[in-house]
């Protein structure tokens, strides 16, 4: 049974995306997700004006 909110989150997203996560892989998936979320937070906490366009906006 998942004991931690991040483990619960991994279970829920895996189910929603139909992604297999075997128990043996879970520690590595979790460790990688922790790194991704830590780095994403570094970006998230940087204030940007509401008008900022994402880089993926293209010219038609």
């Amino acid at each position: 049974m998942a004991a931690d909110p991040l483990d619960n989150y991994i279970d829920a997203v895996a189910k929603a995306l139909a992604l297999p996560v075997e128990e043996a892989w879970r520690p590595a998936v979790r460790a990688n997700l922790e790194v991704s979320l830590r780095l994403a937070r570094l970006v998230d906490e940087f204030p940007l004006p509401d008008e900022t366009e994402p880089a993926s906006v293209y010219t038609a």
Binding site: L19, W25, V29, N32, L33, V43, D44, P54, A55
Partner: protein, 465 residues
């Protein structure tokens, strides 16, 4: 025929072939012989296209005998990272899964352009699985090995490209660079590598990784060869949505212009942290050679690296989602676990990374109003040992994989052109990034050429063979 092509540059081979002093077939056979002799050590090739190469070379020789004009790469052997489509091969992209793909019906655009210039494809090269790698190791094919010390990494993910060029098996190889995968093996293997501006060279018919970050480019043992290959591959291509419509802007004729008047600065702050003494020494040598006394701060570089990481892991996960569902056990477990985690990053965080990217691009482009060139380490260290998991820096133990690309990621994140130049330190070479404004590959290559002429940079002869 009076010329032995061993050790010749691409330019020298092409001149000898065009001038009738060397046949394209002899140049091709010499490359195939070097591959046969040394690749049991280097493991840089996964496919050798000998029959195709001989047929191409014979056709070139026949054209020359008939008095026809030949291209600037006539008879020059080259090889490509195995994520380029090669007609008749499955594009494995370093994976086990892709070996089940249908055989490619057509070559990648860049192979077609190299061959149109007369070059001869001799094979496909080892790489990290699906290009999600900085080490050059591969669980399916074994690691490519460093020609200066086969117990060390080549760097990834274009590890076979770095190894084959540094080992002088071919004068030119093509690689891909999403976060540093041309610049890192160039640094570890001691060769020159060009990561052009995002969108400059067509990626058509190459296996993707991160669409908004993927670049293709050449590696070579001298700047002239790098420019020759780059010029041959430029040009619009409707088959790559990101490929520029700018006209071809040849750089080879500009190399000898020198660097008078160019404003060169050293990247400070982030780029001077988390570096081993060899990287500090290499940057200092280049700064001294270029008389660069100014330092510029690339703003928010750590955050840029973080955003590149987030975009990479999520776009990569999107690309591989079906394969993760259907064949998870056929991945390198380390790649699989990174990609599964990438699929779980919430979408708003990815969008914020793309918004940050726009902001960062504008700030960095402002720097180029006062400088023309920025120099920075290509890697924080020389090539680690194969299998090495951690290194210790300033008393802190750090993971190798996660830290190899820390200096390349903030640069490719906004698609700036970079030439990685090799500083021939002992016991191993290490690279420095020569970074220019978008579409100014000419400036980065002119600086690299000037450094080469000064003797500050050079691809050392392979010491491990």
């Amino acid at each position: 025929m009076t010329v032995n092509s061993d050790g010749l540059s691409a330019q020298q081979i092409a001149q000898a072939v065009a001038g009738g002093k060397l046949s394209a077939l002899d140049a091709t056979e010499a490359a195939l012989a070097r591959i046969a002799k040394y690749d049991s050590v280097l493991n840089s090739f996964t496919d050798i296209t000998a029959n195709r190469a001989r047929a191409k070379a014979r056709a070139a020789d026949a054209a020359i005998a008939a008095g026809q004009k030949v291209g600037p790469l006539a008879g020059v052997p080259f090889a490509v990272k195995n994520l380029f489509d090669v007609k008749g091969l499955a594009t494995r992209a370093g994976s086990k899964i892709n070996r089940d793909l249908a055989l490619s019906p057509r070559d990648a655009t860049l192979i077609e352009r190299m061959e149109a210039a007369g070059a001869v494809l001799v094979g496909a090269l080892n790489m990290g699985e699906y290009a999600y790698d900085f080490t050059g190791e591969n669980v399916h094919d074994g690691p490519s090995r460093n020609p200066h010390d086969p117990t060390r990494m080549t760097g990834g993910s274009s590890g076979g490209s770095g190894s084959a060029v540094a080992g002088a098996l071919v004068p030119i190889a093509l690689g891909s660079d999403t976060n540093g995968s041309i610049r890192v093996p160039s640094s570890f293997c001691g060769v020159f590598g060009l990561k052009p501006t995002y969108g400059r060279l067509s990626r058509a018919r190459s296996f993707p990784f991160v669409a908004s970050l993927d670049h293709l480019g050449p590696l070579a043992r001298n700047v002239g060869d790098l420019a020759l290959a780059y010029d041959a591959m430029q040009g619009p291509d409707a088959d790559d949505a990101a490929c520029t419509t700018r006209p071809v802007e040849p750089v080879a004729p500009l190399l000898a212009q020198g660097i008078d008047g160019l404003r060169v600065a050293v990247a400070g702050g982030y780029f001077q942290k988390n570096v081993f003494p060899e990287a500090v020494e290499a940057v200092a040598r280049i700064a001294k050679a270029l008389n660069a006394t100014k330092t510029v701060e690339i703003p928010e570089a750590a955050r840029a690296r973080a955003a590149a990481y987030v975009i990479t892991t999520t776009e990569g996960a999107s690309l591989h989602l079906d394969r993760l569902r259907q064949r998870p056990n056929d991945f390198d477990p380390a790649v699989r676990d990174r990609l599964i985690a990438g699929a779980m990053v919430p979408a708003p965080l990815v969008d914020r990374a793309q918004k940050f990217r726009r902001w960062y691009r504008e700030r960095v482009l402002e720097l180029f109003q006062s400088v023309d060139v920025i120099i920075a380490p290509a890697t924080p260290c020389i090539a680690p040992k194969l299998g090495q998991v951690t290194f210790t820096l300033d008393g802190v133990e750090l993971p190798v994989r996660a830290n190899i690309g820390i200096h390349t990621q903030p640069i490719s994140f906004i698609g700036l052109p970079v030439v990685a130049v090799p500083v021939p330190l002992e016991p191993m070479p290490i690279g420095v990034q020569i970074i220019a404004a978008p579409w100014r590959e000419d400036i980065a290559l002119r600086v690299a050429h000037a450094l080469e002429r000064m003797g500050a940079v050079a691809a050392p002869a392979p010491r491990g063979l």
